[in-house]
Symmetry: C2
Subunit: 371 residues, 2 copies
Amino acid sequence: MAIHNILNNTGEWLRGEGPHHQIVVSSRVRLARNLKSFAFPGWAKKHERLQILEAIKPQVEALTEMNDAFSVYSQDLSALEKQVLVERHLISREHAAKGVGSAVVMNRRQTLSIMINEEDHLRMQAIRAGLQLKSVFKMIDKVDSALEERLDYAFHPKLGYLTACPTNVGTGMRASAMVHLPALVMSEQINQVIQAVNKIGLAVRGLYGEGTEALGNLFQVSNQTTLGEKEEDIIARLHKVIEQIIEHEQNARQMLLQKKPNTLLDHIGRGYGILRHAYSMNSKEALNLLSFMKLGIDLGFFPEGCRQPIDELFMETQPAHLQKGTQQKLAADERDSLRAEIIRAKLNEFPRPDVGLPPTSSAPDGNGSQN
Amino acid sequence: MAIHNILNNTGEWLRGEGPHHQIVVSSRVRLARNLKSFAFPGWAKKHERLQILEAIKPQVEALTEMNDAFSVYSQDLSALEKQVLVERHLISREHAAKGVGSAVVMNRRQTLSIMINEEDHLRMQAIRAGLQLKSVFKMIDKVDSALEERLDYAFHPKLGYLTACPTNVGTGMRASAMVHLPALVMSEQINQVIQAVNKIGLAVRGLYGEGTEALGNLFQVSNQTTLGEKEEDIIARLHKVIEQIIEHEQNARQMLLQKKPNTLLDHIGRGYGILRHAYSMNSKEALNLLSFMKLGIDLGFFPEGCRQPIDELFMETQPAHLQKGTQQKLAADERDSLRAEIIRAKLNEFPRPDVGLPPTSSAPDGNGSQN
């Protein structure tokens, strides 16, 4: 499969379907594995990294899940192509920085992605839309078992799987869900939620993982520890917490609808108005305004048909996705006007939003809309 | 004529017609006059102020220009009614603070307004839309001559008309034009222009005169001195300067259109988008966004039919105008949502702006709009 097939087709998880997909954008599980008797990638010399690569890559490609897969050496990807894969969460930022000695293999549906010689010899992930942590874990667990039969993993009977970074030793597993929490942010309850989640040993991070900002009201919730707890238990615990977060977000939405409908409508209305009519927009503003549109769709202010286009814009307005269709690298201001243009064109296809926006007169603090 | 006739009908100058009306909102001339042998209003005791009032009011009402006039004692106006008159520039803020002993008389077209016992015994003004300083001066000069035949003005052969504040002594005249200068503000040339205007002895002030902010890119340009120059010369000089400012603003617009069309479109597009879809808006933001809409109409991005509704919104979204139709005084957040509602309803009647917005592809820095 060629790179353009990957770049030009949004993967399954980007289509925004799956249980609780209004609030849970995606579920992801990644496993870190290493081969016995080879140095970790960070310590291995170039020729050793190439040895590791040649030992692993054919086995990954031979997986039944990787039938008709996209398989590529890192040096054969352009910086822009790598950035597109990072924006889709198919490779990590760390992996995008690798050259000779690294590779990535992913299936056509873009639900499975296996990085070779990232921080560990193997970083394999499964990702799907909505809250599907259990099925996502099953997917990647099956791949892991198949590879374990063919590769000699570094495994310690007491510690479990050995990894380059001690924080991954044990299961080598990081399970996470990307959640969209605009009402918790708007009602200033988000910090409370983050603190509560941290207290029970889970991490809350921004859109692109550790140390990144929570743009577009998107948060990644994941397990912190990999030692002393079985994979199934970690997944079950995370699943439960995500369900609680969903409930908090839904309560916050109901509270805003009842107590501050005008503030809510104002955010959503301004979001739509600016997205629909701006001629220059950076990606940060785009994500934040798209978040309000997404909320507006969830609350029924816009028809359900707007959901997929808006979900797509979350990805299409990211810098690399924006530039993949253009011939040359764009300057920041050119990107900003192209981004605004793409958004305007997409929103232009929507029906006028007044159709969906309920009149404020039905709202407790409203003054009776004349729309 | 009853107060509701005044309150419910926007005056002639608000209808936005007249020479250069795109940039010059209105032209205004006011004269300060005092009666001989009475103390100035600030020094006069209450009984003396009542004497002055009874000496002047019948004479003002007897003017042919004041046929079917609205004439009212200050104590008979509510605070809200006074504020409406202030927002229309028909009475001054100072006069709105007066009670027993003061009055105001204005003609039906709201082009002539005569305040009795403001800072001076008589403050008379004429106001019209567009650049009409000469005709506006003629109007008020005729009224002044007629009153001078019937009232005994305090006049000094060497100094001219005597006034409560020495800065008005001489002609007692303040001539001003309200100009809309969004392009000079956007291109950061406005301070240069203000400094140049100050240097030749003219003042530039905000929307409501001395010490007020330049909201909505609206500026008042007026003469500073009243001594040593004939009225006609002051008017002619001011007229010339306003013509130069118009030219600067037009040049700035052309430069933005040629060099930064996307920035210009972005301001106008966002202005429209927010006005059209917000559910809460304070008066400051409303003025600033309406200013961009007005610019958009001037530049042909919106059809000419949008001009009057937008000009009306400049006034209708002011706090007192907003509340005059409601039964009780509104809290700030209630005003903000009512304001947004009125604006949405008015803009809802507009055709979709894409009709008027030229595709960016025709613009030098554009990327080819898909609209």
